[in-house]
Every structure is written in C-alpha cells, then in structure tokens.
C-alpha cells in the first residue's frame, strides 16, 4: 500500500517529502473556505434584496431623481433581477474554486491522477473567468475615465 502510494506520487511528479502535497492541501483548504464564504455572501445578497428590495429601491430612487413613479415597478424588478444574476454569477464562478478544492483533496487522499487533473482544470477555469471579468471591469473603468476627461 505504501509502495503504491509512493509510485503514484512519483507519477504526479510530486516529491515524496510532501512539500508539493502540503502546498496543494493548504491551498485547497483556503480555497474551500473562500468559496464557501462567497456562496454565503451571494445567498445573503439575494435574500437581503428579496426581503428588503422595496425599501432599498426607495432609498435608491431618492438619490436618482430620474426614476419616475411609472417606471418604478419595472426598475425595481430590473434591480432585483440584476442582483439575482450577480448572485448566481458569484455562485457559478466560485463553484469552480470549490470544485478545485474538493478534487485536490480527493486526489491527494486517493492518489488519483485523473482527479488531480480535474482539480487543476477547475482552478484554471476559475482564473479564466475572473481574468475575463477583471478585463471587462478594467475596460469599463477606462471608458468611464475617458468619458470624464473628454
């Protein structure tokens, strides 16, 4: 059993001193914590907006005089929908981080190379999505700054 474990570790390219294994385990532990925190935040965001939506919208419309009473209901629905979409987006993005954490833990326990590959792929997808969102956000900021300057 011990030999089998060592063989698989070598196949991974992981040193038997366990430094890489330890790093992966620690990374997975914190990644899982971060993902769970984000799931809770997304759930709280959706719950708070669903329950206190009308009140939030009243406060929001006080600062935005352009919103008329006629368009208030549709704007309120739009705001609610937008926040639900944001919440779902957070859940989808952090699902990949959560999957990375669980798969890495499972791979280290079972010494399954395919599961390790899947875990790394999930983290890659997480970085791809966050990079794309960051680029879009950055472009938005640049556009806002240029609009302000011109």
């Amino acid at each position: 059993m011990a030999n089998y474990k060592e063989d698989l570790l070598t196949t991974f390219g992981i040193e038997t001193d366990g430094e890489v294994q330890q790093s992966l385990q620690e990374g997975a532990k914190w990644a899982k914590f971060i993902a769970i925190c984000m799931f809770v935040c997304a759930a709280m965001l959706v719950i708070v907006v669903s329950i206190g939506g009308p009140l939030l919208f009243r406060v929001f419309s006080q600062f935005n005089s352009g919103i008329t009473a006629l368009g208030a209901i549709s704007s309120q629905t739009f705001l609610l929908m937008a926040i639900i979409v944001v919440g779902l987006g957070i859940v989808v993005i952090y699902y990949f981080l959560y999957a990375f954490a669980t798969k890495i833990k499972a791979a280290l326990l079972s010494q399954d190379k395919a599961v390790l590959n899947l875990g790394i792929k999930n983290l890659k997808i997480f970085f791809i999505i966050t990079s794309i969102i960051s680029i879009i956000g950055l472009l938005g900021s640049v556009t806002t700054i240029f609009n302000f300057l011109l």
């Binding site: 991974f12 040193e15 790394i120 792929k121 983290l123 960051s134 950055l138």
Partner: protein, 142 residues
C-alpha cells in the same frame, strides 16, 4: 545536484503531458489575472491621485482615500504573490525544475491563505459594524 533533482523528480512528470499542460495553462491564466490586477491598481492609483489633486485643500473624502490606499495595498500584495506563483510554476514546468515548481505551488497556497485571512478580517469588521449598529439603534430607541 541540480541535474539529479531535475531528472529524478521530473522524469515521470514529463511523461504526463496532460498534467504538465494543465499546470502551464493554470500558470498562464494566473499571470493574466495578476497583470490585469496590476493594471487595475495603476488605474486606481491614478484616479486617487487625480481626485486628491481636484479636492486639494478641501479635506474632502480623506477617509475614502484611506480606504483606497488600503485596498490598493492589499490588491498589490495579492497580485504580487499570484504573479510570483505563476512565474515559478511556469519556469518549473518549462525547465523541469522541482524547486521552482515547489516555490510556485507554495506561493499559490500563500495567495489563497492571504485572501482567506483578508476575508476573515472583512467578516469580523462587518460583524462588529453590525453589532455597533444594533447597539446604537437600541440606545436611540430607549
């Protein structure tokens, strides 16, 4: 010594191209993420300096500037760790250097650890703010 560590540890790793490619891609995207983060920090810094110049002498938004400085510093720290991790993983897999690869993965773990600790601090601050809000609200009502 270096050759020995390269050949003994990475021989089998080189065979598993799939895993190597995945680590390479992961490092590539982590690098992109860190670079975009650095550019964002640069823009935030520019915006902050511009707003400071525009509001100079009015003492307007000083607490806002403090928050901005803090968020810029945190973002810089996180992206620096992520960039170092990506660079080391890339170099480690490209040159079959186990030490570099170890450093990369250790930095990646460090990135998640720092991010997790920041989240804990933010949660504590939020809970404290909520408690203070409740206490102040109760005091006002009595």
């Amino acid at each position: 010594m270096e050759n020995e560590s390269q050949s003994s540890i990475f021989n089998d790793f080189a065979i598993d191209e799939d895993l190597k490619n995945n680590f390479n891609d992961l490092a590539k995207w982590a690098k992109v993420n860190a670079i975009v983060g650095f550019v964002s920090v640069g823009f935030s810094l520019l915006t902050m300096v511009a707003s400071l110049i525009l509001t100079f002498g009015y003492n307007y938004g000083s607490s806002n500037s403090l928050t901005n400085v803090l968020s810029i510093a945190i973002s810089l720290l996180l992206n620096a760790i992520l960039f170092k991790a990506a660079k080391s993983i890339n170099e480690g897999t490209a040159t079959n250097n186990q030490l570099q690869f170890n450093t990369g993965l250790s930095n990646l773990a460090k990135y998640f650890r720092v991010l997790g600790i920041i989240i804990i601090i933010v949660l504590i601050v939020c809970v404290l703010a909520l408690l203070i809000g409740i206490v102040v609200g109760l005091n006002r009502s009595f």
